[in-house]
Symmetry: C2
Subunit: 182 residues, 2 copies
């Protein structure tokens, strides 16, 4: 598995993951019916660093043409499994604090991909000289994410009472999580 | 003093106040060099309710023309003293929590205008059926604002350590403030 900056060629794969995550409506406060255009404008916004996690190339193959003189075609089997963004959480005097957002394809969950993305993200945030990282909106029912962030040194620094309307559980609390990078 | 929804005719006055507040760089995490276009796009964004506070009409006058047959011109002396925005803080499952932002002209401060705007804003938030209001980014050195919000029932529910680089005071804490509207 390789994590690298996203390119325009990743837009379809990112939209597939984005749509799947947002349509579920239980982890992000975004319109579940957001359009592809708005979603990609958000994920590739100016000032935002966008990354993807790509499967190893083990599945790559070569289609051998019937005519022996024709050029063989490389079949790229590498699949995008997840994506994250890293950006300043605020502008002006707040631009030294990073914000990040993570999305993993449902088919690739429970395999440590979230942790790999998060560790890559923290390393990038250090490289880009951010002094802290903030998650503005961690829904309290998203216990896997909360455990992961706590494991990586984030603390719950704020609780927003009943700030999220969960599709199954009704109004639930939301956490603000924060970690110094110094 | 009258508080009313902003119109396109208020854009110049709003930009004057916005520019003055943001250029000071000590209360908002916005680019102090933000352009007029970007500032007004932010203040009049889709889904955002924008209001202005206008001086009473006492100063209105009539310019009497020299020719007695010409039509007199009404001189509008009403000045915009402050402005605020009210909007959902998040989309999707978070859209029942309001967010607001306030700006008062330097020449109109310490006269209770901030409180009048805030009370108007809470009343509008009730009318629009928001269930809570959140301020994401109250800079800890902005003690007048913090006192006002606390007086109006808001609580500090989160502290972001050194999240703002103050132009004079260096890195200072930022508060998340929250109030139920139920």
């Amino acid at each position: 598995m390789k994590i690298r900056p996203a390119t325009d060629a990743d837009r379809d794969a990112i939209w597939n993951i984005f749509h799947e995550v947002v349509a579920a409506g239980d982890t992000y406060a975004l319109d579940p019916n957001i359009s592809r255009e708005d979603a990609l404008a958000y994920w590739f916004a100016p000032g935002t660093h966008t990354y993807v996690a790509e499967e190893d190339a083990a599945g790559d193959g070569v289609a051998v043409p019937e005519k022996p003189t024709a050029c063989p075609t490389i079949i790229r089997a590498r699949q995008i499994l997840g994506t994250y963004i890293l950006r300043p959480n605020q502008l002006g005097g707040g631009s030294h604090v990073a914000n990040a957002g993570f999305m993993v394809s449902a088919s690739a969950r429970r395999q440590g991909l979230g942790r790999a993305l998060a560790e890559h993200c923290l390393s990038e945030a250090h490289r880009l000289r951010f002094r802290a990282m903030q998650f503005n909106y961690v829904i309290s029912t998203n216990t896997a994410a909360i455990r992961l962030w706590q494991d990586l040194g984030f603390e719950i620094v704020g609780t927003l009472a009943s700030a999220f309307r969960h599709p199954d559980k009704g109004y639930v609390d939301v956490y603000v999580m924060y970690r110094s990078l110094l």
